[in-house]
């Protein structure tokens, strides 16, 4: 059995090779401080093994705090130069509150075309050993499924469980409007797409719900900032019109929770109770909750909601606070179809992935002109059609459309369409599709699916 150090070394390599997709000769800029020095040096050692060029920036917590006090909050030349010259950037700074402006500035500066930025606040050896040392293909598949359901779905029903002293439990439901193609979730697989930033470790898909509509109750049974609830302890958050209207529960967690809300109130008395996020964790490398929200929210078998700011994730609530609340082993349905069953994956492809034989083709006149929309579409090597949408600054929503046969046909038809601003008529497109051996009914069904996903107009 490998020890922690060995596993952390493996994790460090995965961060560089899989999360940031770095190759020999490329430049890595790494930012760390005295508290994250040990894992940072494992990453540096891994980078050397991979023949990466390094730009090392050790920025002490004191310097980070000084940054917060600066009027201009401009990064120094050394920081800028390190990021400018890099292909991959890792911000492995400790997760202190006072250091937040500095970390935010690094994120802002480093999220730009041609780079990948992995955000790793509060990095330690255990994170490297377990949370990043996972099978990213599996995480990617789950995030893809969740993104599809959260994109298409109109309403999520999150069922969470309040444990009773007699060993039984009471289910609470929170109804969350999703928008059905009006809002897009963010997929955080841990593998950072080019030109974006992502949390490392990743492993969640999350969405900003439609504001002011959610209602019901939510059992906070997992963790929140700085506190882990021990079963059977829990707090019940009651929502009306998208805001917390009451909290039930007592014990140690209640005191911590109330203090957190009081801080939120002090910072933003208007939006500190507004529902800002629904997320599902898929990272199997995180098995224990720690009270560090960035990690806990990714724990497989959990779901979380958040209060406060949603603008960073595609919502409209602007706030200086954002607090996550994790629940253990929830069930989740989207439009009545199962997604999670007591924490385990219950997603059924047939519920969400179109089968062209079962799609009712929309009536389209032969002279209808069709054009591509602004959505980015990637046609994979295996002829799959994958949607890539920019959700918020530097974050993306990606998912594959259709079942394996459907996605192949969609890719073929999409490739026949000219680029913006040109159009093709249904009849012209159908003729070419027929030459590729695509039957008319299949062709029309494919157009219906492409239109449903807003990939053509």
């Amino acid at each position: 059995m490998p020890d922690l150090q060995e596993l952390a070394q493996q994790g460090a390599q995965k961060v560089l090779q899989e999360c940031l997709a770095l190759k020999a000769g490329e430049v890595l800029a790494i930012f760390f401080d005295e508290r994250t020095s040990e894992p940072a040096h494992l990453l540096i050692a891994a980078a050397r093994l991979l023949d990466l060029e390094l730009r090392v920036r050790q920025v002490s917590t004191a310097e980070q705090e000084l940054f917060a006090d600066q009027a201009t909050q401009e990064l120094c030349d050394e920081d800028q130069d390190a990021m400018h010259s890099a292909r991959g950037i890792l911000t492995c700074l400790s997760a202190s509150q006072r250091g937040t402006p500095y970390r935010a500035k690094l994120l802002q500066f480093g999220t730009t075309d041609g780079k990948r930025l992995g955000h790793m606040p509060g990095l330690d050896l255990s994170i490297l050993a377990h949370a990043v040392n996972i099978d990213y293909t599996a995480a990617n598949t789950r995030c893809d499924n969740l993104a599809l359901a959260l994109t298409l779905g109109h309403k999520a029903t999150l069922e969470t469980y309040e444990a009773l002293p007699n060993g039984r439990s009471v289910a609470h439901q929170l109804e969350i409007p999703l928008g059905g193609m009006r809002r897009f979730p963010i997929t955080s697989t841990g593998v950072v797409p080019l030109g974006t930033w992502g949390n490392v470790p990743g492993g969640e898909t999350f969405i900003a719900p439609i504001e002011n509509l959610a209602g019901g109750s939510f059992v906070l049974s997992g963790s929140f900032h700085g506190f882990v609830l021990t079963p059977p302890e829990s707090l019940i958050l009651r929502f009306e019109k998208g805001r917390v209207v009451g909290v039930d529960g007592s014990g140690a967690s209640r005191g911590h929770f109330d203090r957190l809300l009081a801080t939120g109130y002090a910072l933003d008395p208007i939006n500190y109770l507004a529902l800002a996020e629904l997320g599902i964790g898929v990272n199997p490398g995180i098995s224990d909750l720690t009270g560090a929200p960035l990690l806990d929210e990714k724990c497989a078998g959990t779901a979380h909601i958040a209060l406060g700011d949603s603008a960073r994730y595609g919502g409209t609530i602007q706030s200086s606070i954002h607090e996550d609340f994790v629940t253990r082993s929830p069930s989740l349905w989207i439009d009545g179809r199962p997604i999670l069953d007591h924490g385990t994956d219950a997603f059924r492809g047939a519920d969400w992935r179109e089968n062209l034989e079962q799609v009712e083709p929309a009536a389209l006149a032969a002279d209808t002109c069709i054009r591509r929309t602004a959505a980015n579409v990637e046609i994979g090597r295996e002829q799959s059609l994958r949607v890539r949408r920019v959700v918020a600054s530097g974050r993306q929503c990606t998912y594959t459309v259709g079942d394996p046969e459907c996605t192949r046909v969609l890719a073929a038809i999409y490739n026949l369409l000219p680029f913006m601003p040109h159009t093709r008529t249904v009849s012209a497109l159908g003729t070419t599709a027929a030459q590729l051996g695509i039957a008319e009914q299949t062709f029309l069904a494919a157009l219906t699916v492409l239109r449903k996903h807003e990939l053509i107009r």
Binding site: E53, T111, K115, A311, R371, A374, R389
Partner: protein, 550 residues
């Protein structure tokens, strides 16, 4: 209607704005008709000019102004505006109730670039909290008064400074940091915003030091020798100076002493801004860099500043150790705007003009479309404004981008200039690269390539190039703005504007490839430019922190 002490009310309002972050760099003035306060509306990021006169009518009791009297006041305000430079409109602080009920008057004023703020407007703006809410309140009221098009900051084809200047904080700070004197050079591809940056630095320096002597020189092909350039500088700094070409045969020899006399004797700062330096370098290289030597000697001095902006020849000169420009002062290499800067360029003005984009997918789509190229973002912003004016609604990304890419100017900016400025070999290489990306199912924004890839693709077409020609081809594509180096990955490039491929695809890539191949086979000659090595040196230099200027 009660009589209101309007001048007092208006003066209070101006004070409120000043305290709310709208600074005033010019002293108030008074004429027969108005007390005038000059406020800097640059934080609004709308088209406001460098400063905006706020006019408070004198000798008027606002409560009982008749329609005709109001008309007369507006006409006087319009006459005042006619004499203003660097302002896009004036604000008339009316203070009464009449104009709000009189759309005809308001429209009449707007047509003459006069925005009327009534008492209700002023109260609402004054009550808004300092910062973004106040900016929004003022911006929205101005929009209602003057119309969106007049206030739109997106003006295609003109350099952007002041309220229309976005992003580039790092570069501005770097350029402004050597305030004690010396030289700075801005280099970058065509249409990347060098002139705007140069003008913005100039504006800020004059703002900080109104007594500064400034010469604004446009290089290009206008000048033929050192003498002409130096005399143009002197004329711009001191139009009455004796040291002019026909009277002073020793201008070249005495130039430095003359400049130093201005700073040492008159205790004034001197700043010379030379745009399109490439044109000057063309003749200066033939004269062993006489001009640059003189400029360096003159401006390597306390309170003397010289700023250059140029393109490929400037880049070459900066990389050439034998050129006086080589290690003279700071270097700012200008690239596309970052994602944040692009978002700011769209979101900030729109928000201040009361147009909410928060629930739309526009800004991300605009960044994907333009890859941060400022000119292309201007096209998108301008189209967004036009759409809103036409429909009263925010378009979705597809609607907006469809309109943008149908714009001939936009197509010209992306594809037309490529056709005009590239050789057949360069075009062939680009077409083959695009086809290769397609074949590999790699989106063009993630497609990267090096010399070996280009060579391999050309070889398949039986086009053989030696190493030097390949270097030249790659460097030409880079300085032409078609490709950009991949940061953190040596000798690798990607397309600067991935949407460039769209035009190639729509025009039939195989056809274009065939045409380019045919031309390559027919004409074996190709233009030669400086080798890639000099660009790499330049890039390396731009990434190295420089010591403070002397």
């Amino acid at each position: 209607m009660p009589v209101v002490d309007a001048p007092s009310l208006a003066a209070q309002f101006v004070k409120n704005l000043r305290e709310g972050g709208f600074r005033s760099h010019r002293n108030p003035s008074t004429d027969d008709d108005f007390d005038v306060h000059y406020l800097d509306l640059i934080p609004l990021k709308i088209r406001s000019g460098y400063f905006t006169p706020f006019l408070i009518p004198r000798r008027t009791t606002y409560g009982d102004v008749s329609h005709d009297q109001y008309l007369a006041i507006i006409d006087k305000a319009a006459a005042f505006f006619a004499h203003q430079t660097n302002s896009n409109f004036v604000v008339l602080l009316a203070g009464g109730q009449l104009a709000r009920q009189d759309e005809e008057l308001r429209a009449h004023a707007a047509a003459k670039s006069v925005a009327i703020l009534e008492r209700g407007d002023m109260d609402a703006i004054a009550a808004a909290p300092k910062g973004r809410p106040k900016e929004r309140a003022l911006g929205t009221t101005l929009r209602e008064t003057l119309g969106l098009v007049r206030l739109s900051p997106y003006v295609i084809g003109r350099h952007a400074t002041g309220s229309r200047f976005f992003g580039r904080r790092t570069q501005v700070n770097k350029l402004m940091s050597g305030r004690q004197g010396g030289g700075c050079t801005i280099v970058g591809n065509r249409r990347i915003g060098k002139t705007s940056l140069l003008k913005e630095v100039q504006r800020r320096m004059i703002n900080d030091d109104p007594s500064m002597l400034v010469a604004d020189i446009y290089g290009g092909a206008k000048f033929q020798n050192t003498y002409e350039v130096l005399s143009a500088i002197i004329k711009a700094l001191q139009p009455q100076a004796r040291l002019l070409q026909d009277r002073e045969p020793n201008l070249i020899r005495n130039f430095s002493s003359y400049i130093h006399a201005l700073t040492d004797r008159d205790r004034k700062s001197v700043a010379v801004f030379i745009d399109e330096l490439d044109g000057l370098l063309t003749f200066d290289a033939e004269h062993n860099y006489e001009l640059l030597d003189i400029l360096r000697g003159a401006f390597d001095h306390e309170r003397c500043h010289v700023y250059f902006a140029g393109f490929r020849i400037t880049m070459e000169a900066k990389a050439n150790k034998l050129c006086p420009l080589h290690n003279f002062g700071r270097l700012v290499a200008l690239g596309p705007l970052s994602r944040e800067e692009t978002l700011e360029m769209i979101n900030r003005p729109m928000e201040n003009l009361g147009i909410d984009l928060s629930d739309s997918d526009l800004t991300g789509a605009i960044y994907s479309e333009t890859a941060g190229q400022p000119e292309l973002i201007q096209y998108c912003g301008a189209e967004l404004v036009h759409y809103y004016v036409e429909t009263g609604q925010v378009p979705d990304a597809t609607t907006l981008l469809t309109r943008v890419v149908q714009d001939r100017g936009y197509e010209q900016a992306i594809f037309g200039s490529f056709l005009q400025n590239s050789t057949a070999r360069e075009r062939l290489a680009c077409y083959l690269l695009i086809a290769n990306a397609e074949q590999q199912s790699t989106p063009l924004d993630a497609y990267e390539f090096g010399m070996a890839t280009i060579d391999g693709l050309l070889q398949k077409q039986k086009v053989s190039m030696d190493e030097h020609d390949l270097y030249t081809l790659i460097s030409n594509l880079q300085v032409g703005g078609i490709t950009t180096p991949v940061e953190g990955k040596q000798h690798e490039f990607r397309f600067s504007v991935p949407q460039f491929a769209r035009y190639c695809m729509n025009l039939d890539l195989s056809f274009l490839t065939g045409k380019a191949l045919h031309e390559v086979m027919r004409a074996r000659t190709d233009r030669k430019l400086f080798p890639l090595s000099s660009i790499q040196e330049w890039v390396a230099e731009s990434e190295t922190p420089e010591s403070a200027p002397p």
